[in-house]
C-alpha cells in the first residue's frame, strides 16, 4: 500500500508531548500528522505513576512547569475529559534532619516561582496527616500540585487531536526522515511517505536515533520505573506523596486503588518492553505497608513498568535542532515528564509558528551535551540503553 501525505508538521511519537503539540498546532491552523510506532500514549506517557507535581523540580524547569500548571485544570475544556486530575497537594517527606534541611533549602531556592511551599514539622504532620507512619521527621507541602490518570490523559490528548483534524497514524513506525529541500521527507509504516515543513522529534526512549540521523547525539539511557497498585480501599492516602532522596511515591485514586512506585523494573529480551522485578515489587509493597499503616491488610493486584528515556543531568531535551532548521526535539524527561508535557506541547507549537517561545527553555538545549560526535552511539545498536543513571528521577512522582 503506497500513500502520500503533504503536511505542515510531522510529529514522531504520539506520547503526551507529541499529542499536545499536535493539538496546539492544529489550533493554530497547521496541518499535522502524529505518527506512533504503536499506540498513542501507550508508552511512558500512559504508564507512568501519574504525579502532577511541580515541587522538587530543578528551578530551571519551573517556568515551563508553571505554564503546564495552568493547563491541568482546563483539561475538560481542552480534550473533553478531566483525566481524573485531582488537585490534592503534593507532600514530600523527610526521613532525617539532613533531608529536612534539603527541603528547606529547596523552598528558599524556588521563592518567587509561585509554588507556595509550606514546611510542616513532626507535630504538624501527625495532626494533619496522621495516616502516615514510619519515622518521618517533617515534610514540605505544595497545595497546588496533585495527580491524574496517565492512561486517560495521554489517550485523551491524542483523541482530541484526531477530532481536531490531526492525521493520527498509529502502528506507523517512522523508518526514515531526511532533510529535503526546504522541508523533510519521511518514510513510515506500510508504504506511507510524508512531506513536511517541520518535524518534531518527541519519540521518548526512541528519540535518540532520530536526533542522531541529523548529527545530534543525546546521551539518553533507558529506565524502567515500576509501580504497584492495590485493590480499591477506603480513603487512606489523601495527597500525592513523595520522599526526599527518592525510594517511594504514592497516591490513591478516586476509585480507591493506591498506586505506589519506587523501584525499577528490568528490560525483557526486547528492550522496548520491560517488566517489574518480583523482589523489587515486594520491596515497594513492604515499604508502603510500613509507611501507611492503613495499607497493612491490603493486597497488591497488579504491577507494571514502562520504558522511559533518561538524560545524565535529569533535564529533558527541548528546543530547536542545532544542525537542522525546522527540526525540534522534546524527549528525555527522565521520569518527570507527565506534569510538564502539556506545557511542552504549547512551547513546541510556538517554536514552529514563531521560531521562538515566551517560556525560557535554554537549559534544555541539545547543545549542552557538547560535541555531538563525542557522545555518538550507533542507532539501533542498543548502546547505552540499559545503563542506569545514578539517582535518576522518580517516575512522575
Amino acid at each position: 500500500m503506497s500513500r502520500h501525505l503533504d503536511i505542515d508538521v510531522a510529529i514522531i511519537g504520539g506520547g503526551l508531548v507529541g499529542s499536545s503539540a499536535a493539538l496546539a498546532l492544529r489550533g493554530m491552523g497547521f496541518s499535522v500528522a502524529l505518527l506512533d510506532k504503536g499506540y498513542c500514549g501507550a508508552q511512558a506517557s500512559g504508564v507512568n505513576y501519574g504525579g502532577v507535581r511541580r515541587q522538587g523540580r530543578p528551578v530551571e524547569q519551573l517556568p515551563l512547569s508553571q505554564r503546564a500548571h495552568a493547563v491541568w485544570p482546563r483539561l475538560k475544556a481542552q480534550i473533553g475529559i478531566d483525566g481524573e486530575f485531582l488537585r490534592s497537594g503534593h507532600l514530600k517527606l523527610a526521613r532525617s534532619e539532613a533531608d529536612m534541611a534539603t527541603l528547606e533549602a529547596y523552598k528558599r531556592s524556588v521563592e518567587g516561582h509561585g509554588l507556595d511551599l509550606e514546611l510542616i514539622g513532626h507535630n504538624g504532620l501527625r495532626e494533619r496527616f496522621g495516616w502516615i507512619g514510619g519515622d518521618i521527621l517533617g515534610a514540605s507541602f505544595c497545595a497546588g500540585d496533585g495527580h491524574a490518570n496517565p492512561r486517560l490523559v495521554s489517550t485523551g490528548f491524542a483523541a482530541a487531536a484526531r477530532r481536531a483534524g490531526v492525521h493520527v497514524l498509529e502502528s506507523t513506525p517512522v523508518q526514515g526522515v531526511t532533510r529535503n529541500g526546504s522541508g523533510f521527507a519521511l518514510e513510515a509504516g506500510d508504504g506511507l511517505s510524508l512531506k513536511a515543513r517541520y518535524v518534531i522529534n518527541s519519540a521518548g526512549a526512541w528519540a535518540g536515533a532520530f536526533a542522531e540521523a541529523f548529527g545530534e547525539a543525546a546521551p539518553i539511557s533507558r529506565i524502567y520505573p515500576s509501580m504497584v497498585v492495590t485493590e480499591p480501599l477506603d480513603p487512606v492516602i489523601s495527597v500525592n506523596i513523595g520522599m526526599e532522596g527518592g525510594g517511594i511515591y504514592a497516591r490513591q485514586v478516586e476509585r480507591g486503588n493506591c498506586v505506589v512506585g519506587g523501584e525499577r523494573g528490568l528490560p525483557l529480551d526486547d528492550p522496548d518492553f520491560s517488566r517489574p522485578r518480583g523482589d523489587g515489587a515486594l520491596a515497594i509493597m513492604n515499604h508502603a505497608a510500613e509507611l501507611f499503616p492503613g495499607l497493612r491488610h491490603a493486597h497488591a493486584i497488579r504491577f507494571w513498568t514502562g520504558t522511559e528515556a533518561a538524560t545524565p543531568d535529569k533535564n529533558p531535551v527541548i528546543g530547536p535542532s542545532l544542525t537542522t532548521p525546522g527540526l525540534f526535539h522534546a524527549f528525555g524527561f527522565t521520569g518527570a515528564g507527565f506534569q510538564i508535557a502539556p506545557g511542552v506541547g504549547e512551547v513546541l507549537a510556538e517554536l514552529v509558528r514563531d521560531g521562538a517561545t515566551s517560556t525560557p527553555i535554554e537549559a534544555f538545549s541539545i547543545g549542552r551535551f557538547g560535541n555531538p560526535t563525542s557522545a555518538r552511539t550507533h542507532p539501533g545498536s542498543g548502546a547505552g540503553q540499559n545503563s542506569e543513571p545514578q539517582q535518576a528521577g522518580e517516575f512522575n512522582s
Binding site: R162, G278, D279, L282, R296, H297, I301, R302
Partner: protein, 462 residues
Amino acid sequence: MSARPQPLIVGAGPAGIRAAQALAEVGLRPLVVDEAPSCGGQIYRQRLVPDERSSVALYGSEAAKAEGLHRDFAALTDRIDYWPQALLWSLREGKADIAVGGASRQVAYDGLILATGATDRTLPIPGWTLPGVFTLGGTQIALKAQGCAIGAKVVFIGSGPLLYLVAWQYMKAGVSVAAVLDTAPFSAKLNLLRGLVLEPAVVLRGMRMTAELKLKGVALRYGVSDVRIEGGERVEGIAWREGGGEMHLACDGAGYGLALRSETQLADLAGCRFRFDQRDRAWLPERDAAGRSSADGVYLAGDGASIAGADAAELSGERAALALLEDRGLPHRPERAAAIEHSLARVSRFRDVLEAAFPFPAHWAKDIADETLVCRCEEVSAGELRRAAADFSLSEVNRLKAVSRVGMGRCQGRMCGAAAAELLAAETGRAIDAVGRLRSQAPIKPIPLTLALGEIAREAAE
C-alpha cells in the same frame, strides 16, 4: 552441591501429577507448586474435610481415575518436593517468585512444566453478578469439596459437557434441578454421533446422564437465548427466549458457564509466544505435539495449554515431562511418547466434535445490554466499554483496558478479558483475533502487601 536447579511443575492436577511421576521415575526431583491444599486439580479436587461420601459419590464414573492419581501422587512423596497452598505469582529468567506460608520465596528452576489448568468461560448476561449465580466449575467445587449445593432449586445454563455433568451430579446429590438451559439447538447434539467412533465411552456416558435427567423430570431446553437472571438481593428466577417464546422459571441458584478457558498468564510471563486458536477462540501459547513451548525449557500441558479434558491432561503432562527428559539427554521412552501423541491426536479430533455439539455463542457479545457489567472487579459496564471504544477510536483490547479499566482489577481479566475482546470485536466490526490479547502482568493473583521477602529472595536482590 552446585548441580542444576530442579525442574519446576506448576499445578498438581492430572497433568502436573503425571509430569512429576515421569520425571521422578528417572531420578529427577521436581518441585511441584500448587494453589490447592491437596492434589487433584479442579476435576479431581479432594474434600476440604473428610465426610461420609465415597469416591464414587464424589467423582462418579471417574472415581478410579481420581483415586489412581491421588494414590500415585502420594507415592511420590519422598522423590519430589511438593508445596501445596503456594501461589507462583511471578516468573522471570529462570526464577519463580512463590508465595507460601506468608513469605515469598524465589526459586531458581531448570525446566518448567506449566500445568495451570482452566477456569470457566462466560459472557456477561443480565443478573450474572447476583448472589446465587456461580460458574459451572464453582457450582461443582461447592458440591465436591465442601459438600454443599448453591441453592435448593437450581437452574443450569450454558454450553459444554460440564453443563450436563454438573446438573446430573446435583440431581444425584438430591438437589432439585429446575432446568438445564442449553444455548445450542438440539440439532447441534447430533454431532455427538460422530464422536461415538472416537470416544464411545465418553459419549455414551453423556447420553446416559442426559437420559437420567430427563427421566427424573428435569426440563432440558435447547437453543435458549436472551437469558436473564432475575432477583433483587439474590437470584429469584430466570427468564429466556426459546423458539420465539418468552419463558420464565423460579429458582434460587444458577450455575452458568460456556465451557472452559485456559489459564495462560504464567506462559505469558515465561515468554512463550502466543497464537490465536480458532477452536478455543482464545490466544494460546504455541506448543509442539510434545508440549514444548516457543521458550527454551518451558513445557505446556493440560487444559492450561488448550482445553482437552482430564484424560488428555494426564497424557500431555507425561508427554511434556518426556520432552523435558529428552532435551536434557536423559532416558525418555520414545515409544511411549509416540503412543501418547497418537492418543492426543484422537482427543483433538474428538474436541472438534464437542465444539460442534456445544458451540460458544459468540454472537451474544453484540447483544450485551449497555447496563450489564462486563468487568465485575472494576465495575465496568458494556455501555462504558462501547463508549470508550468510540470516544477514543480504539480497536485493541489493551488500549480498551487502559481507558476503561476493564480487566484491571483483582482477576486481571481472567474472568472478563474474553468478553471484553468479543465486545470490542463486535463493536468495531473486526475479527476476534484482530483485537489483540491482554498482556499478563505479575502478580497473576492478588498478594498481600506485607508478604515477607523470603531469604532466597533477599540473596538474589543483593
